[in-house]
């Protein structure tokens, strides 16, 4: 270790201090924030080089790149926070192409007055999520906006990854006869968020399912390289994601309500709030569409992974010129499962 003069004589006060405009001005305060907060939690060789970009070698082959902005409220919720979510969300978007994620970038927009203690907690959680996933945050950016012009903190993450040879997963590849698999219970994330909203507090044991799915995907593509579609049903929930896929592939879908995994607490909360769990967000689930033979092969592999333990086949891809997603209800009737329109609002009567 070089015996250099300490660059910042006073340590960054991550207990009581708050973000101010100097933290985004490019001066010494910003340098200290980067070094004593971001670098502390994200520490890796590429980031430590201190350049405005990360330079690295890549293998030959097909690369994927994805970006995701995170503006969630509240910032901390049962089962996660905006930090872990920002890592998981982007890793999952990369992984849904069958790719192995390699690197992440992170851009922060901080609101003046935001407590550094909260920022420290969020960045620590991001660092932990990235290290658990084995995907480092190698470059980043920080901006500060005046009080009232943001909502605490917004985080944008970008991920890049490389697709293994021979994998061609895309939303337009579903064909009639394919099976639709979901990797576990739906609606957990959305209900966890709603349970902690300020004006809606209700007690539930439900935690967000926020998780990085790329290791599960890795096993899946190894078992069944010809998976047709993968997608994570985030905003808009299972219903909206299936409609996207049906539209992209030009097919219809038939679901069986009785086969869709759902936690009792999620069903109850949705019942109470007048929401339909099919439209509630997930952050650690995926939908897989593949041939019936592949579905048989995939199910045991998925169920053996903790993140896919409750995987189920929930329906079949069918021919339908209207591209409708229809569902046989538990009750014995049938209904169209449409796109989500607007926000899902609680019913009033």
């Amino acid at each position: 270790m070089n015996a250099v003069v300490k660059r910042f004589p006073l340590r960054l006060d991550t207990k009581g201090a708050r973000v101010d405009m100097t933290h985004g001005s490019g001066g010494r305060a910003m340098a200290q924030l980067i070094e004593e907060l971001f670098l502390k939690h994200f520490d890796n060789e590429l980031l430590r080089q201190g350049n405005d970009q990360a330079a690295f070698d890549v293998s030959a082959g097909r690369m994927v790149m994805s970006v995701d902005g995170h503006v969630i409220s509240p910032l901390f919720f049962p089962g996660g926070d905006i930090g872990s979510l920002a890592v998981h969300g982007t890793l999952n978007d990369v992984a849904m192409s069958g790719a192995r994620p390699l690197y992440l970038s992170a851009g922060f927009i901080l609101e003046e007055g935001f407590p550094l203690a909260d920022l420290d907690r969020i960045v620590a959680s991001m660092g932990q999520a990235a290290s658990e996933a084995g995907v480092p945050v190698v470059t980043g950016d920080t901006k500060v906006v005046e009080k009232g012009k943001g909502d605490g903190v917004f985080i944008t993450t970008t991920g890049i990854g490389v697709v293994p040879q021979g994998i061609d997963i895309s939303g337009d590849r579903a064909v009639p006869g394919d099976k639709i698999i979901v990797s576990g219970s739906i609606g957990d994330h959305g209900v966890a968020i709603m349970s902690s909203r300020e004006n809606l507090e209700f007690e539930t044991t439900i935690e967000s399912d926020s998780a990085a799915l790329h290791k599960l995907v890795d096993k899946m593509v190894e078992t069944a390289p010809d998976i047709h579609c993968l997608r994570d049903p985030t905003r808009g929930g299972l219903a909206t994601t299936l409609n996207e896929l049906a539209m992209q592939s030009g097919v219809g879908m038939r679901l069986l309500e009785s086969d869709i995994p759902m936690k009792a607490a999620v069903t109850s909360a949705c019942e109470l709030l007048g929401l339909d769990p099919l439209y509630v967000a997930n952050e650690g689930k995926l939908i897989c569409i593949c041939s019936p033979e592949d579905a048989e092969r995939l199910l045991p592999i998925m169920q053996a992974d903790p993140l896919g333990r409750d995987s189920r086949i929930i329906g079949t891809v069918v021919e339908d010129e209207h591209h409708f997603v229809q569902m046989e209800t538990l009750f014995g009737g049938s209904r169209v499962v449409d796109w989500l329109s607007g926000e899902q609002l609680p019913r009033i009567c």
């Binding site: 004006n199 809606l200 009792a264 069903t267 109850s268 019942e271 339909d276 209207h322 409708f324 229809q326 209800t329 538990l330 009750f331 014995g332 009737g333 049938s334 209904r335 169209v336 449409d338 329109s341 607007g342 926000e343 609002l345 609680p346 019913r347 009033i348 009567c349």
Partner: protein
Amino acid sequence: MKYVDEFRQHTLAKQLAEAIRQEADDERQYHLMEFCGGHTHAIFRYGVQDLMPDNVKFVHGPGCPVCVLPIGRIDEAIHLVEAHDVILCTYGDLLRVPASGRKSLIKVKAAGGDVRMVYSTQDALKIARENPDREVVFFAIGFETTTPPSAVALQQAKAEGLKNFSLFCNHVLTPAAIQNILESPEVRELGSVSIHGFFGPSHVSSIIGSRPYEFFAEEFQRPVVIAGFEPLDVMQSALMLIRQLNEGRYEVENEYTRVVSREGNKKAQSLVADTFELRRSFEWRGLGLVPYSALKIKKGYEALDAEKRFTIPVSQAKDVKGCECPAILRGAKRPTDCKLFGTVCTPENPMGSCMVSSEGACAAYWSYGRFRQPAQQSA
């Protein structure tokens, strides 16, 4: 889930469907109006129509509080935000209802108006306490079910001496509306709308009881069955209605005995009686001016009445041309009879109120049932 799953059981549904098939006379039609949007929603969400014989049809009534609110009242609420700079607290369903001049509360909010979505009157009171130098108005709408919470808010605000809180009252009454439908020429004289029986509201009846329906069951010779909002409730009630019709009876029966009594919730009734009184007349979308069909804030609470506190010009707004919401609300037309349905009017871009709320007939048709329509028309 206890008390919910029991009322959605597939096997029981099959048995009930069979019983209905046995009971229904092939020679006659059974047009049953569900007054409440809650029933409409359940019928579509669970596919109840699929389990009915062809001659048993559901006619969707005007029981969605968002749908029956005339455009003018939304205009007036917008006026409160724009001209009086109030914080307007409202239930979420109202945000997207189209007002005059292509406005809606959600657009007014985007343009800088202080419109806040709340889940209860208590949220609105809290906002008023936290913003003592702003006027806070609660946009009160709904049938008898949502009236008691408004009554509580008025009492609390008065007791606390909350000076900056007021209530824009749009509470309406169910029995008056049902009676109005039965008296309409389409039903009574022309016979162009046949309604043979009614599913009585469930939540509303938990407050007012089943007694208020007794008059018009007798007067108009239409059976009423108070029905719960679960799909099995709807089916059981359909069976009870069909049975009454077959036997020539016109009674008020109560399927929803686990919640509704003949007398209703006396405590809630007295709360409402303490704070509200009848309006001489109120405009309903689809029904026009209906006498004694709505409530206004009573003497003693007038200081909390937004209509007294602020000058609000009366809006002469008209529905969008071609919009059939009024006829649909009366059961005189189906959503698919409207030229705008699914073309320019969709849940993303609603022209009429029936497309806004998930309980509105148009939105329910669009979301859950539209695939069924072409098949039915060609049949």
